[in-house]
């Protein structure tokens, strides 16, 4: 192991750093091969744009979930929060009525309500000492119930055009490829979260708490505060994802996005975030969401039945997680080796 050349090790390290990139290429190759066998071209500009656009929403909920996972927790309330917050304030986003308030107000209200529910999540976990799984499981039900209570069997539709621009707007078109507003929004979000996690005191505390919560407390980290903030941000992001989702579908309804928390887990796991906390990078989430998006898209193109798609997803998660676990271990070893080598030069 120690005899293999440095360059090779650097390369392996790069692969293990971005394990999800590796999976991404494999998945791409797979669908390209299958489509090519049928005499078609898989990677067209328009298809790439569809895939990326779909990945945007997955990235947002993926980040939301990753924040919780990094502390060793989980957020199951993501989908219900999307529903409740948008159903509560969605009416303010209907139509283009001249007397309507600027759409930024309901947007802020939705995100604010999400953060408030996140505060509840955080308080249940820290002050009542509930395991995150249980706390967010409970708010998952409670929020869904409230959403139904608030709107009944109705749907809010025909949304404000300016607002819809947020979820569907096209900035530029190159051949079949559309550069959309959500792509920019998500890019900003990724840069911001990544900066927060890697380059601020708060981010350091998140990773440390996720790795060893007891030692974090002994180190004088306000672990309660860190956790509460994580759930506030995570759940607030979920609410924001609800806006993106609704803007694209041009409607809000209490039953929306039931599977979102689980899709978010899928994205995070495939993106290389460890369920045990303290390990993973936010950029992996981008890969994870593109992978999931490709798979859904690819299977639709091949007209695979949705039951089968679900099955494939399950199998894929098993493989991705096993693969990631192997790579995490290898990555730690390599990190160890490479830093020594570079230092001794």
């Amino acid at each position: 192991m120690t005899q293999s050349p440095l360059v090779l090790k650097r390369a392996i390290k790069a692969v293990t750093d971005f394990s999800s990139l590796f999976i991404l290429l494999a998945v791409l190759a797979f669908f390209t091969a299958i489509t090519a066998a049928a005499g078609d071209q898989y990677l067209t500009l328009s298809r790439i744009s569809v895939i990326l656009n779909q990945a945007c929403f997955l990235t947002v909920i993926g980040i939301a979930q990753a924040l919780a996972l990094l502390t060793g927790g989980i957020n199951l309330s993501i989908g219900s929060v999307m529903a409740l917050t948008t159903v509560l304030w969605g009416r303010m986003l209907v139509g283009n009525a001249p007397d309507a308030v600027h759409y930024i107000i309901p947007v802020l209200l939705v995100v604010g309500t999400g953060m408030l529910i996140g505060l509840v999540n955080g308080l249940l976990i820290t002050k009542l000492g509930m395991p995150p799984f249980i706390a967010t499981f409970a708010t998952m039900y409670a929020c869904r119930g409230l959403a139904w209570l608030a709107l009944g069997k109705k749907v809010i539709y025909n949304l404000n055009g300016d607002f819809r621009y947020l979820g569907t707007g096209v900035v530029a078109r190159l051949d079949g490829f559309s550069l959309t507003v959500p792509m920019f929004v998500v890019l900003i979000l990724l840069v911001a979260t990544s900066f927060m996690l890697r380059r601020t005191n708060f981010g350091r505390q998140v990773y440390f708490t996720g790795t060893n919560a007891i030692a974090a407390r002994f180190s004088g980290i306000r672990t309660d505060r860190v956790l509460i903030w994580v759930y506030v941000l995570s759940t607030g992001l979920a609410a924001f994802a609800g806006l993106l989702y609704g803007a694209r579908l041009n409607s809000f309804e209490p039953g929306m996005a039931v599977m979102a928390p689980f899709d978010a887990i899928t994205v995070a796991l495939i993106g290389g975030i460890a369920m045990s906390g303290g390990y993973g990078s936010i950029w992996g989430i981008l890969c994870g969401s593109i992978i999931v998006s490709i798979i859904y898209n690819g299977m639709n193109t091949l007209s695979i039945a949705s039951e089968l798609q679900t099955l494939v997803m399950g199998v894929l998660i098993i493989f991705a997680v096993a693969f990631n676990q192997f790579l995490i271990k290898r990555n730690m070893e390599l990190r160890n080796e490479l830093d020594e080598r570079t230092a001794s030069r």
């Binding site: 120690t2 790795t211 980290i221 306000r222 020594e340 230092a343």
Partner: protein
Amino acid sequence: MGKLLEFRNISKTFPGVKALDDVSLDLNPGEVHVVVGENGAGKSTMMKIISGVYAPDRGELLLDDIPLGRNTPKIAEQHGIAMIYQELSIVPELSVMENIFLGHEIRRGILIDRKAMDKRAEELLASIGVKVSPGTLVKNLSIANQQMIEIAKALSKNARVIVFDEPTSSLTDAEIKELFRIITALRGKGVGMFYISHRLEEIFEIGDRITIMRDGRKIATAPIAEMDMGKVVEGIAGRRIENVFQRHFPAKGEILLELKDLCGERFQHVNLNVRAGEIIGLAGLVGSGRSEVVRAAFGIDPYSAGEVLVRGKKMPRNNPQRLAHEGVAFLPEDRKREGLALSLSIRENAVISALRRLNPLTIVDGRRERATVRDFVRKLGISSPTIEKLVHFLSGGTQQKVVLAKWLITEASIFIFDEPTRGIDVGSKSSIYSLMDELVGLGAGIVMISSELPEVLGMSDRIYVMAQGRIAGEIDREEADHVSVIQLAFSQTSASQGRSLQ
């Protein structure tokens, strides 16, 4: 008589570190072979090669003069090699008997034969003179007794070679005596033992031969009778150390930390204080409540009555963050569980408690951070090629130094150290002592729990001795000696003695 075990020209490289460099060593039946050396010298690595955890890059291992060939933990076990690791590996939620036979239960057909195991466990425990019933849950035992269970476990596998990797780092004198009695008995049965320790006084008591290691190489092997303390220290540290305990005595200032009549589950009516410029020793037997008191004071555990004052200000209960904010640093007893995030780097661990001081604007200043960490890596003699090494891959003593660095970087003014030099080599100990002396010179106050009497006597301005959860007495530096401290530690009732030997 043939060699029981032989280590021939063994080398082992970890990335960037030559952990073992052409080391040869042997072990005779019925011998206690002491291995000493600075942190990161390769002692544990050598033992892990014997027990099959690591494979050597070069060289071979011989058992009864026959090359062992491939070695794995399973194979080593079958050959009667047992390890008592630096960190205990028993399961607290299981009973004594279940722990002893974990992984090699006695079976009758496909069923586990509990009765036979109970009987055998009782025999084993009796053979090493431990009075514990096989049904007791291990978590209810003292650390010393837990260690005895590990030994019983080794014996249950008919071990012929037992490796002790720093067995006494969490034992007090009375318990060490107990351990030595058992080692002596094993020696009589022809068991060969490697014995690693940083507590140099004890190796002359228990060892037959001694090997000194440095930087992965063997410096010397000699019968213990031909060695003396000075030579051993010089061999380990690579330099003479005239006076390990360097103390200057600055003028004392205000009271920094005061415990008033503190009562909790395991301690009653504890009064103590520490002033600026003072090092306070907290002595006593393991289990006398020392750790419990400081944990409560720092807000980790609850207390039922009394007050904790920092610079005269009353502190809330159960709020370690608040105490940290007031400039109190707390070095816990259990470094892996309570001190470190093992899968993060030296750098990430070392700065975690000082983030606010280093980056007041919350954005991490990478260059300042690295400079600060490097500074302490040098001061504490942390042996690692870079500060990016994951703590997980460091030697035991080096990990302890990282925990120390973490608290020193905070520039706190009140330090609570629970066994600060546990597992640290003599050379580094003396640098840590001078760092402590420097700290109080700058106006800090230190409370130090230690089971090593020389350390308590050498470093403290005043010593509080605890027995059975109470402060049994307070002794000034001038009046303190072995006898006075031990008398107090055993004072109270005879029950306290009974407990320590239980």
